[in-house]
């Protein structure tokens, strides 16, 4: 990693200038990337008078977390005023099984497609892959009918099914591309050792998969957590995920629009995915290169 592109004899003077302009560019981009975050966080920490009086970019006078606690437990959504908390847990209950299921299925499928190549495996993979590109708006109506048919409409199971299915394309892609780089000989050796399909998966392949599991989990978690369309279309009321609730909260006003609460709500909604990225982003990037970039 330390072995990056540098060219030994340093022509120091022009280098210093280059270095400086490099930092300037990096810094400008950092500001650009941070600007929205700054606005959102800043606003969420201000009180209403401050918001109305000052500019969007002014620093908050003091760190005022009341908007946060309000958004979490007191803000009104429709006729109930319990804040985002119950919906947060809805999202958790929805996201965890979907992530686990789609990752597991993707892993198994990717494993079978790469390490047990049967006739047509590539076509099957291409067909699955194309699933990445279906705009979700297209599937709402037939999905609604299907969910109704199965009898899991307006339940968390419905959402888990939807997210699992439409996450599968991506997880399969990730795992497939990762497993392609695991030598086939490992599977052959294990076969001779007497291990079967699932034993090899469990004992050999899965222990090698953490990097790509991280990718799959982060990607799926982000996608599912941030989903609005499915959540809004297939659930109502108390069963809604946090994104829908946040949207309702932001659009629910009794009296004056509370920008600070809205922003705090947006932050609470984004917090889990943000934390995941900040904490595990490095592994995400690393695994992603293994999983989707074929260089």
């Amino acid at each position: 990693m330390s072995d990056t592109t540098t060219f030994a004899p340093a022509q120091t003077r022009s280098n210093a200038w280059l270095r400086l302009s490099l930092w300037v560019v990096l810094f400008v981009f950092a500001i650009w990337f941070l600007l929205p975050a700054y606005v959102v966080v800043g606003t969420s920490l201000k009180d209403l008078a401050e918001i109305r009086g000052g500019s969007l970019l002014a620093l908050p006078h003091e760190l005022n977390f009341t908007a946060w606690s309000h958004a979490w437990s007191k803000a009104c959504i429709g006729v109930t005023c319990e804040g985002l908390e119950p919906y947060f847990w809805n999202s958790v209950i929805m996201a965890i099984p979907s992530v686990v299921l789609s990752t597991l299925l993707g892993a198994l499928t990717g494993y079978a497609l790469t390490k047990w190549k049967f006739r047509g495996a590539n076509i099957v993979f291409a067909l699955i892959l194309f699933g990445c590109f279906v705009p979700f708006q297209v599937v709402i109506l037939p999905m609604a009918q299907t969910l109704g048919l199965i009898g899991i409409t307006n339940t968390v199971y419905g959402l888990i099914l939807v997210h699992t299915v439409y996450g599968l394309a991506f997880t399969t892609l990730f795992f497939r591309n990762y497993y392609v780089s695991i030598p086939d000989e490992l599977v052959r050796a294990a076969t001779i050792d007497g291990a079967g399909f699932f034993t090899i998966f469990r004992r050999i392949i899965l222990p090698l998969s953490p990097p790509i599991i991280v990718v799959s989990v982060i990607w799926q978690f982000t996608q599912i957590w941030n989903d609005f369309l499915f959540g809004a279309s297939f659930t109502t009321g108390g069963a809604q995920p946090i994104t829908v609730a946040m949207n309702n909260l932001v659009n629910t006003t009794t009296g004056v629009k509370q920008y600070n609460v809205d922003m705090a709500a947006a932050l609470i909604t984004a917090a889990p995915t943000l934390l995941v990225y900040i904490a595990a982003g490095r592994y995400f990037v690393r695994g992603l290169t293994a999983g989707s970039v074929k260089g």
Partner: protein
């Protein structure tokens, strides 16, 4: 009457802002007071945009909510699709025929039977004006469009924004339909926007309408796109702008800010020959299974059209009750003017459904109108071109 099951209703609505939310809360409390279990299903945003998807998804899944906030021709279409429950029993026992004006009855009845409960009547063709600002240029609220233009020019010269306006297509369409009503007259409005008469749509009058729209655009400040209507209202309140053309839900904003009608702000109808553009919210009851849900629907219907709720709700919302026998005592001058005007318009045959607010036309045609109105308003399209496009678009949408 004693029912076998406790009433229960899932209510799908998009009343999540301002007075609306308070009003729904009132309804929910009343429902609960009668032993009902209220399942709240708010879908905020976009004036029902998001709700439309949810509703279709739920109906297709065979699990519709009990009561849904829909209105205008949509009610007829859902009824035609066989999705709506018959409310004749409640209507008969509560004697709805007697208390609802014909214009409203037409909206909520399908093949002679009630399938929806009207909540209120909004008037759309209002001008909300700031008297102080008008006074600065020595003007009063205009009563003709020429006067409007003259006043606006004066305001412009004085560096005041004449017209506060927001940036969603439906707002453009709202202004558009008041201009159609004013410039073209009641009959033209009916021919063009209700009956979709191609001659009327393609007429010179329509060209004039667009000419006026082009002028209106000049009276709006450049920052209007993306602005919410209530922010435009606030501009009038603060005196940054002189007037706003908006339905009477704008009144809720004035009220919330503690402003008094007549004193802090003036409500006047937009220039027209006694025209009245009506917008009415209503709840449609969908076919559901289960005694508790049916009981809930009936109870809800009864409560919604009950005088008590009609009064509280409309006081919050700024509109006027759908039924005519609610006591006027608590309502302000603007509301009373609206009530009076509605009666006289109904008598004079000048009571019209709003196109922009989905009373005159259902989705596709309304969408076509809105498309052209907003496209014209937001570009430098010529009036002639706009008319041509309008004719084409309406033909296509029918």
């Amino acid at each position: 009457a004693p029912l076998k099951a406790d009433p229960k209703a899932e209510v799908l609505h998009y009343w999540t802002s301002g007075g609306e939310a308070k009003a729904v809360k009132a309804l929910q409390e009343a429902f609960a007071a009668r032993g009902g279990e209220w399942v709240d299903a708010p879908v905020a945003g976009g004036g029902g945009d998001a709700q439309a998807a949810v509703l279709r998804a739920r109906v297709l899944a065979g699990d519709p909510p009990a009561a849904v906030q829909i209105k205008g021709p949509n009610i007829q279409e859902w009824a035609e699709a066989g999705a709506l429950a018959d409310l004749s029993n409640v209507a008969a026992s509560q004697n709805w025929d007697a208390v609802l004006p014909d214009a409203i009855q037409n909206i909520v009845k399908y093949e002679g039977n009630y399938v929806a409960v009207p909540v209120n009547v909004h008037r759309v063709d209002w001008i909300w004006a700031n008297p102080e600002v008008l006074a600065k240029v020595g003007a009063s609220v205009p009563t003709t469009w020429d006067e409007f233009n003259a006043t606006a020019d004066k305001l412009l010269a004085a560096g005041i924004i004449p017209l506060a306006h927001g940036g969603q297509p439906w707002q453009d369409a709202t202004v558009f339909e008041t201009v159609v009503l004013g410039i073209g007259g009641v009959d033209f409005y009916r021919k063009a926007l209700v009956e979709l008469d191609m001659d009327a749509l393609g007429s010179d009058t329509m060209v004039k309408v667009f000419d006026q729209m082009r002028k209106m655009r000049g009276y709006v400040d450049p920052d209007f796109p993306g602005r919410d209507w209530n922010l435009a209202t606030a501009m009038v309140m603060r005196g940054e702008a002189a007037m706003q053309i908006m339905g009477d839900w704008a009144k809720g904003e004035f009220a919330a800010a503690g402003k008094m009608p007549g004193k802090d702000y003036i409500c006047a109808s937009t220039p027209s020959e006694n025209g009245y553009l009506l917008n009415s919210d209503s709840f449609a009851m969908f076919n559901v299974k289960g005694d508790d849900l049916i009981a809930g629907q009936n109870l809800l219907a009864e409560l919604i059209l009950g005088t008590e709720f009609q009064e509280t709700f409309n006081l919050f919302k700024g509109s006027i009750p759908a039924r005519t026998d609610v006591s006027r005592g608590a309502f302000d001058d603007c509301a009373i003017k609206s009530m009076d005007d509605m009666v006289s318009a109904a008598d004079g045959g000048t009571l019209l459904g709003s196109m922009a607010h989905e009373i005159a036309q259902a989705g596709a045609v309304r969408g076509a109108f809105i498309d052209i109105a907003t496209a014209h308003f937001n570009s430098d399209m010529s009036s002639q071109e706009a008319v041509e496009k309008l004719v084409k678009a309406i033909k296509l949408a029918q």
